[in-house]
């Protein structure tokens, strides 16, 4: 457990009828750490983040932010956290500046900060544009700007780049990286883009079906208790007849019946590949699209759950 963690989550559970949206999560996040909650749709990321944001109440467990519970400390905590929700839409016929001014008024913040935010999120040219006329990327940047208005100690972003093109995503990353460099903001970011988690965050938590499957830095996740090399190919033939399981270089084999793809988690490609080619050389099999690489987070997710992050 980190000393003086800014956010502490202890055995949090949340149920919706018979669905366990969050099923016993423990997390401890120190100051200035950027943490990614990585997982597919329906993993429970948004539910968890909304409980941290105080927008939903857990059924069990507790959440402490800056050593404070939400109950009795709502006003204090709202002044010190910034959030960006998944898919916030704004009032169509208000301008960018008017929206920022509205949210600034909630914190008692003046015009100077609004100008700073416009510069930070690179929307100076769009200060008088109606929000309905902003592009998706510009709206996301505006949402981020609102989240940063009060210079929060804790920043909670729910899929801030979802649905954006690569350039727009990159712009948001730049803003966040600048924030990391210049402030001591603690951030939780939910995403289903593994490259976003890998690029931005110090620590990654992989979630699925309301539970944490793995957590750590990127290097820790890819090397701890797992092999770090992948051999992948498309196979015509019965994968069960390959009989690769007795080999000590094989950690795990994954068969995707829809794509007819075999993914082998091996200790070393150079050790494994000759055996695989030998086995598949008979007329019973045909392999195409052979690929050998280092393990990625997506591969790690497949090895943990049997499906892709984007499924």
């Amino acid at each position: 457990m980190a000393t003086n963690p800014v956010i502490q989550i202890r055995n949090i559970k949340k149920y919706f009828r018979d669905v366990k949206a969050v099923d016993g999560i423990d997390l401890s996040i120190p100051e200035a750490e950027f943490l990614a909650l990585l997982g597919p749709n329906g993993a429970g990321k948004t539910t968890l983040v909304e409980m941290i944001e105080g927008l939903q109440k857990p059924d069990l467990g507790e959440i402490l932010i800056m050593n404070r519970h939400w109950k009795g400390n709502e006003t204090y905590l709202r002044r010190h956290i910034g959030i960006s929700l998944q898919e916030t839409r704004f009032i169509d016929k208000l301008t960018t500046t008017e929206i920022l001014r509205l949210f600034a008024s909630f914190y008692g913040i003046g015009e100077k900060r609004i100008d700073e935010i416009l510069e930070l999120i690179r929307l100076q040219d769009k200060r008088k544009a109606y929000t309905v006329n902003l592009s998706g990327g510009q709206r996301q940047r505006l949402a981020l700007g609102i989240a940063l208005m009060n210079s929060p100690s804790v920043l909670l972003l729910d899929e801030p780049t979802s649905g954006l093109d690569p350039n727009s995503r990159r712009e948001i990353w730049d803003i966040l990286l600048n924030l990391k460099k210049n402030q001591h903001t603690t951030m939780i970011l939910t995403t289903h883009y593994m490259e976003e988690a890998a690029f931005l965050c110090d620590k990654i938590v992989i979630m699925d079906k309301g539970k944490i499957l793995a957590e750590g830095t990127l290097e820790e996740l890819l090397t701890r208790n797992h092999s770090d090399e992948i051999i992948e190919f498309n196979l015509q033939g019965d994968p069960d007849t390959l009989n690769l399981n007795n080999n000590n270089w094989l950690k795990k084999i994954n068969w995707d019946p829809d794509r007819k793809k075999v993914t082998l988690f091996v200790t070393e490609i150079l050790l494994a590949l000759p055996h695989i080619l030998d086995k598949t050389s008979s007329d019973k099999y045909k392999i195409t699209g052979l690929e050998c690489r280092k393990m990625t987070l997506d591969d790690l997710f497949i090895s943990l759950t049997g499906r892709r992050l984007t499924d």
Partner: protein, 365 residues
Amino acid sequence: MIQLILIHFREFVREPGIIFWSIIFPIAMAWVLGIAFSRQSELAQQVVLIENSREQYPPFREFLNDSKKITKEILDENTECYEKTLVSDKLGKTIFRFISTDWDHGILLLKRGQVNLIMKEYPDSLEYFFDPINPQAKTIFIMLSSAINNQNLVYESPAISPLTQKGNRYIDFLIPGLLALGAMNSLLWGISYALIEMRSKKLMRRMVATPMKKSEFLISFFIARLLIAIIEAAILWTFAYFYFRISLQGSFLALATIFLAGNIAFSGLAILISSRTANSRIGTGLINVVTMPMMILSGIFFSYHNFPDFAIPVIQKMPLTMMADSIRAVFIEGSGITQVAGNSAILTGLGVCCFLIGLKIYKWY
């Protein structure tokens, strides 16, 4: 709070349809209804006449002596009609158009609402066929039978003293009702619908996750909408003053009091309606369920005393009825603050209760 109020105003004025719905439509409605009902007697009252081909009834034929013979297209056929105009100094001009046709066609016209009465001519009498519950049919029967039998005697009776001064006209009845109706629609649609939309866009959720006070958020809607309702009412009243010469006979303070109380009532109701409503489709339905009965029953366009006696106490307790009755009393009965105090207190209390309940159960996300 100021920023919250400002955003409501900005949204209001930047919506192109607002000019039509808030200003042009109410004025147009007042103008059309005012004109229509002030000149109703000049419209032709159509009556089916089943003539007797062999012998005619002399008093009726004498009545038709100076009538005009015209041809009109009735039921896709060119049909002969007699048009008789009765002019009276006291009762104005009344035009009767007798459509000469057979019984089957006559019944069809009755069913379609094009006539309210059928007359059948016999050699020694006239027979009148009409629905005795239909007030317009009864009026036509009384006017025709007295005119045919007594000619102008009844029309010029010294017992008739026409009331045509300001305050007794239909338009004097209508305008106060329209002011109340305008306030109700402005508040219920302007507040409820906007809140439901904000919730569905997750904007409300985002705002609630700031230090913003929830009560201030809701009150800002009330203040903004009250100011807008005042502007809308002022425009309608200005039009009515200059065009129809509507004037205020009671005190302005009484009018302001009941107007404010009505606004508080409808704001509270609007917040309660939007408190748990999932989306704008359900919201639209709910708002209609609340507004439509009041629009029809509350005595805006015609007196609610036309409804059965058992319904009247219920109707009188409806918020729109209380507001319209009190505004009407101030305009045309000269009521002051003491006369409207009761309804004002009830409306204010209703609004505050609805607001507090709504705030307590409000689904912010």
